[in-house]
Amino acid sequence: MTTRGLSNLDFGVTAGFTGEQAVLAVRGEVDTLGAPVLGAFIDAAIASGYPSVVVDLADVAAMDGPAMAVVARAGSRLAASNGQLTIRVSSEMTGRLSAIAHPANGLRFEPVDGSQKRSGVEHTIAAPVAPATPVARPGASGAAVVEGLVRLHALQAATDVVDGALRLVVALARATVGGADGASVSLRRDGRLATVAASDQTVMDMDTDQYTVGEGPCVDASVEGRWFVTESLEEEVRWPAFVPKAKELGINAILSTPLLSADEPVGALNLYSRNVGAFTPRDQELASVLATEASTILTGAASGMSAETLAIRLGTALHTREAIAQAQGVIMEQERISPEAAYRRLRIFSRTSNRPLLERAQDVVASTRLFPMDMATTVVPSGMVDRRATGRSPLDDAMVGDFQAGDRRPEREPTTAEGPRAESGHRAAGWRRAWLTR
């Protein structure tokens, strides 16, 4: 599967898995915004248990300091667990990158010439760039969602599609609910509660402790079919046998939302946090929405959509939401208007240009990439592309006059459940100009 790109530049990561090796082919420019995405991909590959990770930088035009740091840190982590990070790199980049090689990170360089064919890539996931706009919602970074999508890849082979879909829901909950440090899904099977998906071992232990003592928010939500939240375990009196165990593991807040199958409670989506009062009302809403979808998957009554299709669509939908929320934030910031007013602007612009709202949102977000706030503090090694020098991107010139009110795209690709929509073109600057002169 591929996801829609959010980037106006050509940065992207394609993940391939062969035997014990994960190959991450990177293309374009790995800048301050691309580095965390690359980092998330490497992390996901390591977390999935691949001892050998290859980062293929043969098609990379430029990398800045943060990206090199991401690669070096990943090398150290892999080396610590007897793994190996191999960097495939063009001969002209080898010199620059060898600066980060160190015995502790065990980086191995494999020179390639640009035309060399790569083999053995079975599946691909194109990484969208999620620009870190100053007003982006915390805790819902695109990179984290990418991680969720990488996990989805890993479970495409799973025989139990429902469990696979629920694992995706857990990954998405973990990635999108700002207050959550961990997430899990509990399900009643053969009369007993069991955890079918958990983001980490602490969460798994938390769930198991509740099943063992027969009490806790997860057990109550699964039995009573309503949600249970505890904002601070210090003050919690409801589950005397369970609470001390949770505190031992450093947990301070829990939110359990019931899962229903044919209106009967069958389990819960559990979110855990180390911080008191971590879950905002928005987190609770998002948990409820994700739990509803998990319930739909369980009920299997999703109007002909298979659990797998639904899970993939949900992943795409979350991604789109993120892009739109970011654009909304940018407009709020620039125009000093309310979220609803910002959304209306976006919607009206989508209508007048007769292009989907997502594409317009991507344009808005992309327009901020020309002047990212944190670029001022990053070091760009000599010889690399530095857009700060002129404050202009080559795209700027390419985009002049692109937008005309009411313009129509002659050919629009249809949206389907299987495929991405057409990626937006390089229209950011033209868009911004049109916006400011409205």
Binding site: E340, R347, N354
Partner: protein, 83 residues
Amino acid sequence: MADQVTDVLELYRREAGLSLSELWLRYFELGGMSTALELEAYLYSALIPTAHDHDLVAHALNERFVELGGNHPVPYQYGESDA
């Protein structure tokens, strides 16, 4: 007539050929926070959505109509002059 529907959004949904869950996914994609059940309630006027939620549903339907070659037939509650 049992099947007679007078609720505007539901009529548009049928005309757009979208199942309830597909419409919900599109609405959710655009930033909607209501569950599929609540959306169904909006369609049948069993619940009154906020103007913002109504417009999200309207826009989800309109994007579908644009895909089908139409041009934003579903009216919004917030007009362009409110923006």
